[in-house]
Symmetry: D3
Subunit: 227 residues, 6 copies
């Protein structure tokens, strides 16, 4: 349930070292490290391939067809932040373009994650400002109705609190709650170490069936081989 018309100026951001370190693991590993939770829905897609970022969330709640709050949010951005924008109702208008991106970059923002549309995507790519969105649309917006900044928001099905860590790449977007960020970083590190070895064994022809010892549970579950 959303509080409208408010801007929280003092939010508790996740420690920068932790927030920054999560980027290199990517959304899939971080989500696994947290126990398979925290993901936004897969309709959230990057506007260009290859970007991989993490940062602390500045949250925004938007009204449909109205990007006023993105301007309000710009002032709350600190270096290392990722702006996470939800809309109070499904809407694909182009809430964000190259001018706002210029402003966000000047404030130190690393990316935008928005459950709505964006535009000027060619220029955004040239500027190197990554965006994950539900749509791309030329449609402009008005500045007439209040939403909020830095309240907890539901963005693409995931609850995001201001100051949480957001990790995004070509696979999607995951939100790591501030209180869990340290543990998630540890778990992701452990998981990754593990993966290099697994990859080598699988590349050499070892089957997952054997490496993960699946044959017995499969048999117990009743799997039958027919020649």
């Amino acid at each position: 349930m959303y509080e409208l018309g408010v801007v929280y100026r003092n939010i508790q951001r996740t420690d920068a070292g932790t927030a920054d370190a999560l980027a290199r693991f990517g959304s899939a590993t971080v989500h696994e490290a947290m126990g398979r939770v925290g993901l936004m829905k897969p309709y959230m897609r990057p506007i260009y391939a290859g970007a991989q970022v993490s940062g602390t969330a500045v949250t925004v709640l938007l009204q449909p067809g109205d990007n006023w709050m993105l301007h309000v949010a710009a002032e709350q951005i600190r270096p290392g932040d990722i702006v996470v924008a939800a809309c109070i109702t499904d809407n694909t208008d182009g809430f964000f373009g190259d001018l706002l991106a210029t402003s966000f970059m000047a404030r130190g923002a690393r990316a935008l994650v928005i459950d709505a549309g964006v535009r000027d995507v060619k220029t955004l790519g040239e500027m190197g400002f990554p965006v994950w969105s539900r749509a791309i649309s030329s449609k402009g917006t008005v500045k007439a109705t209040l939403g909020s900044v830095n309240i907890p928001v539901v963005c693409a099905g995931a609850l995001v609190n201001p100051g949480d860590v957001v990790v995004a790449d070509d696979d999607g977007v995951v939100c790591v709650p501030r209180a869990m960020a340290g543990k998630a970083l540890e778990a992701a590190t452990a998981r990754e170490a593990n993966e290099a070895d697994k990859r080598a064994r699988l590349a050499s022809g070892v089957l997952g069936l054997d490496m993960y010892k699946m044959r017995e549970p499969l048999e117990k579950a009743g799997l039958r081989y027919i020649d």
Copy 2:
């Protein structure tokens, strides 16, 4: 971010008098009374027309194609509750049918709100057990993987905490946080009183343009009449 594999047994339910009183206002009025927030997405539809309920939320987090946690949730139901079930990924399988409904009714549940599919809808209608869901599907589910009961869930885009009030009718589903339920009831009552008079005036031919004094702001906004 979800905690998996847990059941919270002691939740703080909204006071029953307040929770019950909200039903008669319906989802639209309650959502307006809260300042136009709290709604689930409009893909949540009743399986039969005409039901209008309110109650306290017992929340469930489901895994795709797996209804194990609904059985776990049944034990946590108290008279006056509405079960609110989210799924960790979009899924339309039939997680719920007449047997679970029989059990839920025996425990005193008033309704199910589920961001997934249900089945046996004809029988559910005959039993008078209302359900709001994203889909109707014969597809059965397994019982293999843990979710959780009575953790905060995002259901159809709305954050629902256990013990919150849920109001549902033909227009949709709204969640009223426990801390706001008293105020929401007051505001809804005030709003409704107001509506009877408005309706009478509009029925007599008075225009909303005049009743809401819109002509001046429309002119200021630049509206032009052309004959």
Copy 3:
């Protein structure tokens, strides 16, 4: 391309006799009578089954999440009109409910066709005010940004000019341009006369293959029967 911020007060409505007479043929027959054109997309559904209406269009262009123009449109309604509302971008909010319906009925409107959402659908059913919409949603709207009234609009994929005839029933919604309404009525009348006889023959066991003389063209097209 839309002209914003204008209300055309003097529109040329299709002759009432013609507009009224089209209702009984229903949307499918009228669309066939016009040569299989004029339909809105099939996501436009009635909020209750069984209504079948025709009337002259008063058109409205809405902004997303903003129902201001419906109040402006109310004043332009004359008995026998159907309000046709398009939205400048896809939006499912509840733009219309029982209060506006009371006002529309007081002005003589027969129905609303809206490429967006509506609410209070139970009450609308009790009032007997039919609506065809893309969604049902409790979500309220603001009154902040201008659209237009009585300009040509694209509603659910169909171009509707003010004064055109709109025919709607359980099968969907069709728009008949004013200049074609007379011919469409004639063609629909002829077509229907025709159908009673066809129905009797088909009911007696005659096959469409024979009645429509399809066997030869099917053979020419290369259809092969295999025993």
Copy 4:
């Protein structure tokens, strides 16, 4: 892979006694009885609530916007059949209306299952001819391009061979292969006997947790209760 331009006249229908007997179990029970397989996707919805049928499949492959093959199929219908129509590409046009329904009924068809649109739904309801479809649309179709009749088709994600049994109700549509129909009937009968007892116990307050002996596997899976 479809063979186009052919009509198989001699198909092997499932024994009528078996085909008829499956109706009363409904789609959910029959699908469970077969091991949770055979369902069409849940976008297939009945045009009116309450119908529950079974019958032997006469299959049709349609071209988009072209209902020629439904006329060809009519001749192949025998009493007790259900026509199952797939379209070679997604299409929501109204391929079927009251005239074709009159013809199908005269031939003894019990229902139509069509992965496309239908029209005249009000009349179809009055005639008592049930249809499961992906859409309702006034849009008429042409008769220009060949499809096929009584070839294996994929309808709404399910493979249907001519002569298979189709069971449909408010929950959806399931296809039972001819070779499995006898077994499916037995299993459904056994399953249903079972359900009456379960329902009584659940109604008396016994929990599924105990009735299905879930407490131990849940504990093994690691479920924790928190007070």
Copy 5:
């Protein structure tokens, strides 16, 4: 409402100088310059990134699964045209591939905008022929039923008259009516001049809140800052 079976040979194209000059502004700026109208829906996507074009519209109305009219349209193309193809019902088949593109290019067409599917997209990219479409699909089409060429069409929600200017880029597609093209060019030019300065100021750290003087209206609207 569509007229079927006609080809208008003499259409009034927007002056070439104006039509050509609009390309460099892109769809977002042109749409803003016209007052935020004229856009196609955002499901229209380019088959490859980076193309930015404008040209005069040759319009086509297609039947589902039938690309006959694209061949008829080819003859009507003049250098500088963009073909805009609508389909009378939603359809994703591959209506257009490298052979038609070869023919269109030979006639001087600059692009295709089609509310349906296309194929051979790799080759189209190599040929440098840009297409905006709702889908990519290998599915071939027939040549059996008439549509029309150079009638007004509704394409992806936008009304396009033959001779209008179409502007398309990575953000989407906008249609500029012939009568407005001159004004739109002026407004776009003015708007762009304006943007360079804004961008510089935002890059230097000035906030949109100050540059656009939003602080006072935000306060009036009731925005509260909480520390």
Copy 6:
């Protein structure tokens, strides 16, 4: 109708020469060569542009949110195979990532076609392992419930038998039944030879109207040219 819990080890693969030779024609030409059938739905998209492959199908039936059977399938892969995975209900989870891809490549697989989601798409691109899927998602899966390997499956609307040829490129995915592969190869070869000449004529300015002799049938169909 699916058989669950089985792995067929001995499947009859299409002759490798034929299977391999089909790749260069691409999905559109092969589908045309078979008479316009065999295509998967167009929501199946490549995770990166430019790949064009053919191979023999190893089929997999998955349960929602459960990738156990992909590990079982790995053992059945032989060089030249393409794994075709269907899911028993719509699901977009990330069933497949770089580890499974490493294993599949080690076994000689050429590609994965999956009617569900995949992850690690950046790494998959770097590895050069092409995937066609309905979604990209970081969401991990469990290993708890049996599906099957090498049974006939319906994948994205197309029936695929183990050993059939699958051809995939930027336009989509087509399945060629084993029994038809030889003929399809011949027809595709003939068709392609044909195309080079057509392309040259169209490039020289000849119209399809003349090259395909469409003017007469168009006139017969009633096409009118208006000056």
